[in-house]
């Protein structure tokens, strides 16, 4: 954390995440196959792929929630469990219960759990952090609202605030634009665009449109990972990932990610 801004001149950026030969099998079904991936400090990586392509599994492997069947996962050179406190995680929207009686404020405070202790109350520092995180995502005025009464976009901001309150060095987002209107999508992107100055970001989405100009690097995932360390995706990667002709996908995309053909 202390050397976050000390980007040594000319030296290659520090590798935050390193996956080598990672495979995950669930009950004999393969979710991830031989994935190699290196994410460097201050990368903003977007991973796209169809539903069921292993995107959430990949994030859970990085979080240490799912142990790989084969291969090795290293975050800052260590096993992921040891780095959990350095990660902010925004889980998939669908996992939470809208009926749960909890305020936006209490959800955000959850992010401080690893900074506080069992049996202790949240400290004034935790509260100040939560206030700042709500301010960052621009929903300070909604903090006492029950989470179930917020719009999809507002809920997503709450979950991003909960991740940010941990002062993470790495932010992992699972489908951050599900249930979010296009205006909010643009605002969240702008926010992530600001955050990437100081935080490494990995975002997964089934939607190609999620890959906007703010994303620096793009990978395609469908069991296997296609990644070239750049923002451009060769058409054959898209075809391999989605299993359909590129032409269909290229039209109607708000942000052009494919190389121009001319």
């Amino acid at each position: 954390m202390e050397h976050r801004h000390s980007h040594a001149d000319g030296a290659p950026a520090q590798a935050i995440i390193r996956l080598s030969g990672v495979s995950v099998d669930y009950d004999g079904l393969s979710a991830l196959e031989d994935v190699d991936l290196t994410v460097h400090r201050n990368d903003f990586l977007g991973i796209i792929g169809p539903n069921g392509g292993g995107k959430s599994t990949l994030l859970k492997v990085m979080l240490g929630l799912v142990p790989p069947s084969r291969g090795e996962v290293r975050l800052w050179g260590e096993p992921p469990q040891r780095s959990a406190h350095r990660i902010g995680y925004v889980p998939q929207h669908s996992v939470f219960d809208r009926e749960f009686p909890i305020s936006a404020w209490d959800v955000v405070l959850m992010g401080r759990l690893s900074h506080t202790h069992l049996l202790r109350r949240y400290s004034p520092g935790d509260h100040a952090g939560a206030m700042q995180a709500l301010d960052t995502v621009g929903i300070t005025s909604l903090k006492h609202r029950p989470i179930g009464q917020l719009s999809g976009g507002q809920q997503q901001r709450v979950f991003i605030a909960r991740a940010l309150v941990r002062n993470p060095e790495l932010l992992l987002l699972d489908e951050p634009f599900a249930n979010v209107d296009t205006t909010t999508e643009e605002e969240i992107f702008r926010l992530l665009g600001q955050l990437k100055e100081r935080i490494t970001i990995v975002m997964v989405s089934h939607n190609l449109s999620a890959i906007s100009t703010y994303v620096d690097k793009v990978a395609c995932l469908n069991g296997r990972l296609y990644y070239h360390g750049s923002r451009e995706i060769p058409p054959e990667d898209i075809e391999a990932t989605y299993g359909c002709p590129v032409e269909l996908l290229a039209h109607g995309m708000p942000h052009r990610v494919l190389r121009r053909h001319d």
Binding site: A84, V95, F100, P101, L109, L113, P146, R162
Partner: protein
């Protein structure tokens, strides 16, 4: 003051109602928001095995109930996580096996099992002082545990995966919660009985949920409701001369029904 309050059995009954209400309101809130109603039903029925064993071997049925409830709760926690048995199938097995054990043990107890019916359906008017003391201790354990782990329980209940990432021992807390459910069930058995426990655990928090939108608020209101419904139920059963446990459950159900009806008639909550 009505003369009936002068009787010791009535004083014991009211004290039991208050103690049961506190446990049900607090733990029932977690049961309702985490959708653990069926698990709680399984644990409560499995408890009958302990009651039967105690009647057969001649020790306190409440102790037997505590042992079986805790064993069933831990069994549920382990079986559903470590085996390929689905959770609801596991609960069904536990539910019926516990009851069957109770029936066999009670049968071995050579015919003399006068209490059996009161454990199944509750008889709050026969609560003993020693049982009250036991209920008080269980309540203290329940409330102290919830106070100690309030923020962790809230986090794990709302989003278990995130809690794990945030370093909360979610698996261990789940077992603690199951143990609290077991202790709550034992606290309530004398009031409404094994078969009807689930009503007192589910109905007051469900009513409270209609009027509150925080876990803390829901818990406090659920406690107040559970105590009030139990006390009113006892009064009603005494006045009408009908079984107390069933009266409490029917009264609670009726109140929930009225509340839901009232909510439907009025326009839904503004978003």
């Amino acid at each position: 003051m009505p003369a009936v309050l002068g009787y010791q059995f009535m004083q014991h009954a009211l004290a039991a109602a208050v103690l049961a209400g506190v446990a049900c309101g607090v733990v029932g809130t977690y049961v309702v928001v985490r959708r653990m109603v069926f698990v709680s039903g399984g644990i409560s029925h499995a408890t009958f095995g302990g009651v039967g064993l105690a009647l057969w071997l001649g020790f306190s049925p409440i102790l037997g109930a505590v042992a079986f409830a805790l064993a069933a709760a831990m069994g549920m926690g382990v079986v559903t996580r470590r085996t390929r048995l689905s959770e609801d199938a596991g609960i069904g097995v536990l539910w019926a096996t516990g009851m069957a054990l109770g029936v066999v043990f009670a049968g071995l107890a050579a015919g003399y099992t006068p209490d059996l019916f009161s454990y199944l359906f509750g008889n709050i008017l026969t609560v003993l002082k020693s049982e009250l003391r036991m209920m008080l201790v269980l309540n203290a354990v329940i409330v102290a545990t919830v106070l100690a782990f309030y923020k962790e329980f809230q986090a794990v209940s709302f989003d278990e995966e995130f809690s794990r990432v945030a370093g909360v021992p979610a698996g261990a807390l789940q077992l603690v919660l199951l143990a609290l459910i077991a202790l709550t069930i034992v606290t309530v058995i004398r009031v409404v009985g094994i078969v009807l426990v689930i009503a007192l655990i589910t109905i007051p928090p469900s009513i409270a949920r209609q009027f509150t939108s925080t876990l803390r608020g829901m818990m406090l209101l659920a406690v107040a409701l559970a105590v009030a419904l139990s006390v009113c139920g006892i009064a009603l059963s005494y006045a009408l001369n009908v079984p107390s446990g069933a009266t409490i459950v029917l009264l609670s159900g009726a109140v929930l029904g009225l509340v839901l009806l009232g909510k439907r008639v009025r326009p839904p909550r503004p978003a």
